[in-house]
Structure formats: C-alpha cells, structure tokens
Symmetry: C2
Subunit: 338 residues, 2 copies
C-alpha cells in the first residue's frame, strides 16, 4: 500500500541466475522464474586446485557472462531477481557458508558473500544434492510427487528429502546424508573411517574398483578393452558403457551395485514412506540394467505398503537439474512456492 | 455464529479416553485435554488367542469402566470428547483399519468401527509406535524437540517420526518402520525373511537369544541363576537385570545391542538430522549400560553436524506414553495442536 512499494511491471517476468558448483565442473545459466526458459548457459572446469579465490572469480565471470547474454536477448531492463548457488558439502544456509567440502578443499568458506559482493544481487546458497533434487521436483522427474527422496550417485553419494515442494533440512541443515548409511556394519571400510557405508559399495569409485579387482583377479571382460588394457583408467562410466554393451562382468558389477543401493533405498522407503525415489547421477546411464535389479531388491527388502506407494525413477535433467534447483532454492528461500 | 453452534461451557474441560492396545496388554485411561490428569486407569492382558471379538469386548469394557469412573469423579455432565486408540501393526488411519498385526493375528480388521459402534463417541486410530512417541512429545522426554525420531524396542522394533508436534506419516501411513532397516545386508536372518534387519539384532528376543547362545556355548554368567538354570526362561528383561548387577556376559550383550542399535540410529541421524532421538521400551531399563555405548557408537558413525544437533534420550513415560499418545493423536486428527 505504501507509496515506496515496488510495483512489478505488468507482464514483466523475473530471471534468476542458477549456479551449480561441482567438484569437477561449474554450470551456470539464467532461468525464467517459471522455469520455461534458460539463457546464457555455460560450463567450465572447477579450478579447485588453484584455491577458492580462483573458483569464486570463475563463478563471477560466468554469472556476468550469463547476465550479459540475458540482457542482450531480453533487453537491458530485464528484471534480474538474484542468484541461487548450489555447492557441495554441508552448507550453513543462513550464513551462506560452505562448512566442509573435501573435493574443493574448503572449510567454513563464506561463498555466498563472495558472490553477492561481486554481483550486488540477492543471493542464496544451498547444498548441491538439495538443488539437484529440487530441480527435478520443479521441472523434472519428481514434478508430481509429494514426498521425494533423492539420491545422487557420483564420486560420493548424496541425498535430499523434499516434502511438499520444500527441502526437509533437519535440525542443522544436514538431513539427507544417505551416503554414510550403514548397510553392512562389519563390512567394507569407507573413506569416512567407518565400516559398511553405502558409499563404500555403490559410489562411482566403488563401482570402478569392483570391476578392476575382478579383472586383476583374472576375470575376462571387455571392460579392459575400453581403456586399451590400462586398468587404472577404468571409471564407473566405463563399467556402465560395457554393461550397456552386455559385458558379463560389467553387468554383474551393476547388478551388485543395484543390490547394495537397493538395501540402502529400502531403508529409506521404510523410514520416510516416500511416493517417489529419484536416483540421479552417472549411475543412471546403466538404465534398466541398474533399475530392474534395483527395484527387485527394494521390493524384497522394504515393507510392502511402502513399496506399493513408491516409484523408483531416474532423474530426467542430468545436466541442468543443479542449475534449475539452485534457482528453485532461491525462490523457496525467498518465501515463494514452486 | 449460527444459533445451532455448540457453545463450550465456560470453564469446562474435555476428557478423552486413550486406549493402548499391545500384543501382551491393553492399557486404558481417561485423560484431561491438557494432559494434566488421568482417571480410570486399567490394565488387562490382551486376549489375543481368543480372537478379535474378545479383544474388542475387553477394550469396550475397559473404556466403559474408565468413563464411569470419570463421571463418578467429575460429575455426570463431564464432557467426554472421544476415544483415541493406538494399535500394533500398520494401520489405515482414514478407514480406521488395522492392516496387519502378526502378534494379534489380525489382517484388515476394522477396529475403529468396532469400538465407535459400542461407545458412540468420536474415535480415532493410530499406530502404537506413533502413539508412544506422541505421548513423549506431548508430556514426556520429547516435550521441547521439533524433529523427533522415536524407536520402540520390544518384541519387535517400531518407530515414529514427529515433526513440529505432528506425526510424519509418509505416503501411505507407514513411515518410521525402523525395525527392518538393513544394517548388515549379508547378516543375520530376520523373521521377516530378509537378512540383517536391525530387529534381528537389537529386539528383545534377539537380546535374549544372544545371551542364551553364549551360555550354551559355555560362557559363565549369572544370567542363568536368575532363571534357576532354565535357559528357556531367559528374556531381554533378565539380561537387563543381570547387566544392572554387573554380570560380565549380560553387560557384553547390552553393549553389543548398543552397537547394533547405534548403527541403526546413526543412519536415522544422517537421514533426518533430528534434534531428539527417543529410545522407548524395556531396553531402556539397562540405563547407562546401554546409553553410554549407544551414544558412542552413534558419535562414531553419524555425520558430526548431525550428532552435535541431537540428544539421545530414554522415554520418560514407559507405562503411559501409549495412552497419552492415543489421546494426543485423537486431538491432532481432529485438527488441534498439542
């Protein structure tokens, strides 16, 4: 009512910049507030080894570039509402601090301030797994679900819980840390120091290791041919490709992965009784060779009313879920509904 | 505003009957709406072997008795708002049906209707673990917590999630089924058919079995003396008593239980990031001999920001949490806040 209140121009739409900071790559894009358009997309390797200043400078350059392209396409007066950032590691959302990111080598790093100082735009920070899952909730595979458990399988295993379109963050913003769920309390040592964590069995590196160990132990497999015999070059991606081509060892490794991941996801079905479990990350490239045994394992292990209520699906937006989700998180943190 | 609207008498308070139906006992009491008073308490063995009609008749007699005593004490015009029931097994809250209760031998049993028909009062049904935890949230150890994970350790292991004073029920009312969480995917067979469920390690019967197995294998222990050498009489309670008296084997069994339970609870800390974990049931009788190693195991296994945010405490209302919680659930299902 007050005279000073800002009036939204009739017909104007806002644009929000999304930043998906990963251990390997940074992806940036400017997204129309309804998610219907993305402008000024770019991807660059994360210069993690050059230290945080270099990472911040790269992000800020990418944001400027994306904003410039958006102004270019939409006119100089286009309304830029702000910047949403997704970052690895537990983050403190209120202060905008990355608490700990082993892949970036950061501890208590004030990422939000460092970006906001350069752009002079309202800025929010969220965890990368929250963002990836929020992106799928907003515009992807989880659009119609109310209780969503998302698991991101990559170098590590992350996760997020989204209830009625909002991240469930827990008492100190770290809910959804599914990678270090014990599925075998006397089992394989995890790099976190414990034994039997899901991540020690079903992460990308764990998948690669199992293939390498088997080949070293004398199993014949086409996996070795994909890397010209240099086993040290085998990654989870190699295994997924070989599995897609029907290689017996690779298919077996994927099936084992499905069993471990299935035990972990069954625990989440029993605990949260979600209507959708979203599996994101490179592992989804294995397609049905992963999802068929995965669904079977979950069915075998979880409580049947929880199984009947729940779909298990791959993410639909592997490349852009993080950017869209950073924008979704910005909107949610500003009190909007998706 | 309409003339027909019922006017609450000034100064009048409502009373609600709570029913805690268990596999072994039924407990009933009439509770003042603020939880400040309980009248007409009774406890009877559950006549599960005589079939559901007999169980229903017993509950209805106990309700009538409790109401009669309440009228006696508070005057015939006391306002009785209704009946809240807690029952084992997954329940369908909307239809008031007990979907499955192996201990009672029930499947799809319309318990709510059978009670409401007799009392002619508004009636609600909820799961017993939800009720036990809601009772502690309303009036016991979880009074001041926002995100509460409750685990009930008895013949089976049940659980509940209460967020901001309301049960988090999931997509089909079965959230919180922690007993069949896999903590050792290749481990001990559970009676559910799977391998490595928490319940196969940390439930009452699992605790008794471990003590019995060790004594049969030749370990010396005072546990056998508590049952005059008849090992078949050893229960979890015997083990807790002997542990309290310092028996080495019993202390070891309790410590092992703490390790298994700790692995399970650490998973829940990582997933939900609660501010309180409530451990209910007979197992809490082992006191510090359980809770000290339990907290250590959780600290070792869970993500440290989740550990720092969370207290691990025993329930405060072992005998009445179920009755109070059935009343709390009644109030919540009628749209009230606790």
């Amino acid at each position: 009512m007050a005279g000073g209140q800002r009036i939204k121009r009739e017909g104007s739409v806002r644009y929000i910049v999304g930043v998906d900071l990963g251990g390997s790559n940074i992806v940036v894009g400017t997204v129309r507030e309804d998610g219907g358009e993305i402008i000024g997309r770019s991807l660059r390797p994360t210069p993690a080894n050059e230290g945080p200043d270099s990472v911040v400078a790269t992000i800020n350059e990418m944001i400027s570039g994306s904003i410039a392209e958006t102004r270019d396409r939409k006119g100089g007066t286009v309304e830029l509402a702000g910047v949403g950032i997704g970052s690895p590691g537990p983050v403190d959302i209120k202060s905008g601090t990355v608490l700990l990111s082993p892949n970036l080598g950061w501890r208590n790093f004030p990422l939000l301030d460092r970006i906001a100082d350069a752009t002079d735009l309202p800025t929010t920070l969220d965890n990368d797994a929250n963002c990836a899952v929020l992106g799928e909730v907003w515009l992807g595979a989880a659009r119609n679900a109310n209780i969503v458990i998302g698991v991101t399988v990559g170098t590590g295993i992350g996760g997020a819980v989204v209830i009625d379109g909002k991240p469930f963050r827990g008492a100190s913003d770290v809910a959804g840390e599914f990678g270090h769920m014990t599925i075998d309390s006397t089992g394989r040592r995890c790099k976190c120091g414990n034994y039997g964590c899901l991540e020690a069995y079903a992460s990308g590196p764990a998948i690669a290791s199992r293939a390498i160990e088997s080949i070293r132990a004398g199993e014949r497999s086409a996996v070795a041919d994909y890397v010209d015999g240099d086993l040290s070059l085998i990654t989870a991606e190699t295994v997924y490709r070989a599995a897609g081509d029907g290689d017996i060892l690779a298919v077996e490794v994927v099936r084992d992965t499905a069993r471990f991941l299935g035990a972990g996801l069954a625990n989440l079905l029993n605990a949260f009784n979600p209507d959708l479990v979203l599996v994101c990350g490179g592992v989804t490239k294995a397609g049905d060779r992963l999802f068929v045994p995965l669904r079977n394992e979950i069915k075998k292990r979880a409580f049947s009313p929880a199984v009947e209520a729940c779909e298990i699906v791959p993410g639909e937006l592997p490349e852009l879920a993080g950017v869209y989700g950073a924008v979704a998180s910005f909107r949610i943190q500003r009190g909007e509904s998706l």
